[in-house]
Amino acid sequence: MSQVVFRKAEPRDISRLVELNTRLKRLNEEFDPLLRVRADIAETSRTYFEKAIHSPDSLVIVAEDSGKVVGFIKADIRERQFYEPRMEGNIVEFYLLPEYRRKGVGAQLLDHTIKLLKEKAEIITAEFPALNEIAVEFYTRLGFRGVVSVYARES
């Protein structure tokens, strides 16, 4: 495996981001039946990333190996209405292809993203499905802990 580099996503990355995001959501579906993937996920993902790439309040970072995007993080900057510190960098999507896992690439990608988020935010949060054990283990290992819980019940 050659050197993995990190950079901000550009419009030319969108097709690949759509593909990786679909993998991410299908993985979440494996963990939790309440996260059934929509049939039109490709279209909704495309709109989602087109908007995020051009928004000053979002950040999409890709991991690239020999010109190929192998993972990404999407985060949003938002203001907390009632708590200090006010500015929050909120990581909402994180996916890395299997070959690049367990090699420190994920932690590096996260580090890189957090550095950029810290230009605008003072607290970093990450959102992921409660039943995604891999995400739970990953963030816990890196010093994150639960702050907010979202509980669900169908109908």
């Binding site: 993985l27 292809l97 299997p98």
Partner: protein, 442 residues
């Protein structure tokens, strides 16, 4: 399948006639009822005390040295699928019979009424004090990987799953000789494994231990060619981590597509998929490299007929059937692996021991007898069991997993004596008519 129908008729008639295939027969003299005072209470208490002082003596002072359980939950029996533990019992009896006849091992069936893999593991672990070894049988994939991996790790007696290790060992033995005949090196060969069930996943894992270049191995399952970026990788990570690990290690060329694409320029095909014929086309074999090696292991009908593979240019062809040349047959492996492992009181069966068994099996055929139609010994050549047992015992001793190490020659003599005795006892029971002749089928 006229032959299959015929033996099926005999089997169905014989099963109730004999009331199964096994019974327990004492092996000590009982001259009068007084002898029970020696074999049972009060005499036996002295033996109990010996074992209390050192539990390991249970291997010498009881039948434990030679007793293994053939354990199933009936979730994947032969090609019949999930037929349940009761219906699996005839197969377990048959397995135990082969253990006794070919390896001299006292094997008995245990059918567990659970599909919960953790409960399965707990039950088998609990049985350890009374057993010399465990042979897992006919458990569905991927649970069979989980159960074998855990039991091998957590028990200190040999644990074996024949659908994995036996098939992989026999396949590797055949491959060693097929590669020799076609002038290939294992480490340089492009090997395609078609089918990714218990057999081929175990074969891939064993090939890695044997020194194959994993980046040149390509697995093909029902979805297609396995590679690190396949769409179902995350699902595999959760549901079949064994296949997932292989996807990360194999196929570094990242070939995509189906079997025909995988076979392009490949040296070896090992098919252990679903019964054929017609699953593999002749033109696909023609795409392989010069003088390819083709193993067609599905039973009862191989993925393609062996003569079709030959017509398409295959140099060496093997199947799982006894009526064609080169039968890749687990029965060549498991009786002697257990013979060797039990005789040294092995704590486990290591991959090194499986590799040695495969080597011994391959080397049993002398160079001048090695031909494309004779790469694997047959069950007729019963001396092979003694050789394999001796190699396995020697390897266990070398790897320090033997409670009682033996040299090759020591085990060779011992294995021969035990296996011969086992056959002679059965023959004498038949001669004396304690075992009745097979009933006629009209």
């Amino acid at each position: 399948m006229a032959e299959g129908d015929r033996v099926g008729e005999v089997a169905v008639k014989a099963a109730p006639y004999y009331g199964g295939k096994l019974e327990v027969v004492p092996k000590i003299p009982v001259r009068s009822l007084d002898d029970f005072a020696v074999w049972y209470t009060p005499g036996v208490a002295a033996v109990c005390k010996v074992i209390t002082r050192s539990r390991e003596r249970s291997f010498d002072y009881t039948w434990r040295w030679n007793a293994i359980a053939v354990v199933t939950n009936g979730t994947r029996v032969l090609g019949l699928g999930n037929i349940g533990p009761e219906a699996a019992l005839p197969v377990m009896e048959g397995k135990a019979l082969i253990f006794k006849f070919l390896g001299g091992v006292d094997a008995f069936p245990l059918c567990l009424n659970t599909t919960d893999r953790n409960k399965f593991v707990e039950v088998v672990k609990t049985l350890e004090p009374g057993l010399g070894g465990v042979n897992l049988e006919d458990i569905s994939s991927p649970d069979c990987f989980y159960i074998l991996d855990r039991l091998r790790q957590e028990m200190s007696i040999p644990v074996w799953h024949d659908d994995q290790l036996g098939t992989a060992g026999a396949t590797l033995a055949g491959l060693y000789n097929a590669l020799k005949i076609t002038d290939r090196k294992l480490s340089k060969s492009v090997i395609v494994l078609f089918g990714a069930g218990a057999a081929n996943i175990a074969t891939a894992r064993l090939l890695e231990k044997a020194g194959a270049d994993m980046s040149r191995i390509v697995l093909v399952d029902s979805v297609g060619i396995l590679h690190a970026e396949r769409e179902d990788m995350d699902e595999l990570m959760l549901k079949n981590p064994w296949k997932y690990e292989l996807a990360l290690k194999t196929n570094k060329m990242k070939i995509t597509g189906q079997l025909p694409e995988a076979l392009e320029g490949a040296d070896v095909l090992v098919a252990a998929a679903t019964p054929g014929p017609g699953l593999i086309k002749k033109e696909w074999i023609r795409r392989m490299s010069d003088k390819p090696v083709v193993f067609l292991l599905a039973n009862p009908v191989p993925e393609m007929w062996p003569w079709e593979a030959k017509e398409a240019g295959a140099s060496v062809v093997a199947t799982g059937r006894s009526d064609y040349p080169n039968q890749v047959n687990n029965s060549l492996v498991f009786p002697s692996v257990f013979r060797g492992a039990l005789d040294v009181r092995a704590k486990t069966i290591t991959d090194g021991m499986v590799l040695k068994a495969a080597e011994a099996l391959a080397e049993f055929i002398p160079e001048d007898k090695l031909t494309p139609d004779h790469i694997i010994p047959t069950m007729e050549e019963w001396e092979v069991y003694v050789h394999v047992a001796a190699s396995v015992a020697e390897q266990a001793s070398a790897e320090n997993v033997a409670r009682r190490p033996l040299t090759y020659d020591e085990e060779f003599a011992r294995a021969r004596r035990i296996i011969e005795r086992s056959r002679k006892v059965l023959m004498s029971l038949m001669e004396k008519q304690f075992i009745k002749p097979l009933p006629q089928v009209d």
